[in-house]
């Protein structure tokens, strides 16, 4: 991952900061500058998600890229935040413990690193609530 690309999204990754359209009361993560439903009538404000949600679906990763290999097997899931939006995230639990519908909450973890010399990427993952 390019350092610059990560850095631009860092705030959103660290704190689950997205957007909210006050016209139709829809929440977006990652943040959107325009509401696709309301278009010009949409009023967008920044919002910080509480970090609580539920697992919609998940898969267990056994073969991962080199920089994530040490973590295998790990759970990758789609989490629906209580405010509505869905996002893909690693779920920190034993693969056998993961289940659809499990309540989760956000935690701050290392997402990865380029190499021993490179940047370390931090951000949000989920654990059982």
């Amino acid at each position: 991952m390019a350092v610059s690309r990560f850095w631009r999204k860092l705030r959103h990754r660290y704190n689950l900061i997205g957007t909210h359209c006050t016209t139709c009361n829809t929440y977006y993560y990652p943040p959107r500058k325009m509401c696709p439903q309301c278009r010009r009538d949409g009023r967008i404000e920044e919002c910080r998600f509480k970090g609580k949600g539920v697992i919609v679906t998940y898969t267990v990763i056994h073969a991962a890229p080199e920089n994530k290999a040490v973590q295998t097997p790990y759970v990758l899931g789609i989490v629906q935040l209580d405010e509505g939006p869905r996002l893909t995230s690693q779920i920190i639990c034993k693969p056998d413990d993961a289940r659809i519908g499990m309540r989760v909450q956000s935690v701050f973890r290392k997402l990865g690193e380029d190499s021993e010399q490179g940047m370390i990427y931090y951000g949000t993952k989920f654990i059982q609530d």
Partner: protein
């Protein structure tokens, strides 16, 4: 005179533990001899994706949550650690962003072996007292390093503690602090080396006991207090044995130590050690009670604090996980999994 002290605090301990038996088995040591010698039975281990920065963020977020702090009021962040993830790129910058205190604040990382966190507290105390800042955040966080097979491996643990220092709505007032610092080569790590070196078993006397005793006695003299004036006492816990011995040398009782004596089931959390003991004590302390704290960092030095618990403790109690809660429900690792967690083997 302006009163200063702890407005809020938060701790973090990873879920994983390894038992002394599991490590002793690998190196052919007697687990009973180790447990009796060190008075440590198990220690915390970080998850594979946890490091000093992630634990510091979790502790800082717990401190913010406990008192529902407006994080833009935090105008200084100092993070004490000897395991900062970067050699150049401050851990405090990551914390500032992760608690949304950025960008209007001063920040720096602090290093002084196991007492970097209490040094960070003193830095915040000075800035708060002089009214240069509103609130300061002082953190001790470490993923302690011990070379495989070294005696340190039995105690080197992981954890973080964060204190928000301010002037108003104090949960505990810090009345006085007293420090000693000398050039003592009891423990060191050269730049670029993965594990620390130490002077072996003799390091206890010229290092830990000398400095803790000097600082503790100095503080009691400065404040005109004696051990019996305090309800609780916390000393740096490189193992379970040293704090018991130094307490008895100084005239403190095991009853005073009890709530903050966390090393037996946690290990040595280095920069977080004395601060974790203080957090565990604040978890149970009541208004008006007094706490005596002395940290120690190899190299070497000690910071001692005289603290009195205030009314505001009641409203922030149980608003964030207690140290006792964080110690509950551990997940035990085999040595193989432990090595993977600590990256002692390269994959």
């Amino acid at each position: 005179m302006t009163n200063i002290g702890i407005v809020s605090y938060g701790a973090y301990i990873p879920r994983y533990r390894i038992k002394i038996e599991e490590i002793a088995k690998i190196w052919g040591d007697s687990p009973d001899a180790i447990k009796n010698g060190l008075k440590v039975y198990e220690k915390s281990v970080p998850d594979i994706d946890e490091d000093t920065a992630t634990m510091a963020v979790e502790a800082a977020r717990n401190a913010v949550k406990r008192k529902n702090i407006d994080t833009t009021r935090i105008e200084a962040i100092y993070t004490g650690s000897e395991s900062h993830p970067y050699a150049v790129k401050p851990t405090s910058t990551i914390i500032a962003e992760a608690i949304s205190a950025s960008p209007i604040l001063t920040a720096a990382d602090v290093e002084f072996a196991c007492k970097a966190g209490t040094a960070a507290m003193q830095m915040c105390m000075g800035l708060v007292k002089s009214e240069m800042i509103d609130l300061g955040l002082a953190i001790g966080s470490d993923v302690a390093q011990g070379a495989p097979g070294d005696a340190l491996e039995y105690t080197a643990a992981a954890g973080a503690v964060a204190y928000i220092i301010g002037r108003d709505e104090l949960a505990a007032e810090i009345e006085e602090t007293y420090s000693v610092t000398t050039d003592t080569p009891d423990f060191w790590r050269r730049e670029g080396m993965p594990y620390p070196e130490h002077g072996g078993r003799f390091t206890g006397e010229p290092g830990y006991f000398k400095h803790v005793t000097l600082a503790a006695k100095g503080l009691m003299e400065k404040t005109n207090t004696a051990p019996e004036d305090y309800d609780y006492a916390v000393f740096h816990q490189p193992n379970g044995k040293f704090p018991l011995r130094v307490a008895s040398l100084l005239g403190f009782t095991t009853k005073q130590l009890k709530p903050g004596y966390v090393a037996p089931y946690l290990g040595n959390t280095y920069s977080g050690s004395a601060m974790m003991g203080l957090a565990a004590t604040l978890d149970v302390a009541k208004t008006g009670e007094r706490i005596f704290v002395t940290s120690f960092g190899s190299g070497a030095g000690s910071d001692a604090f005289s603290i009195t618990v205030c009314d505001c403790i009641e409203e922030i109690k149980n608003k964030a996980p207690t140290v006792q809660h964080l110690l509950e429900n551990p997940l035990y690792l085999s040595y193989g999994m432990y090595a993977k967690h600590k990256r002692k083997i390269k994959v």
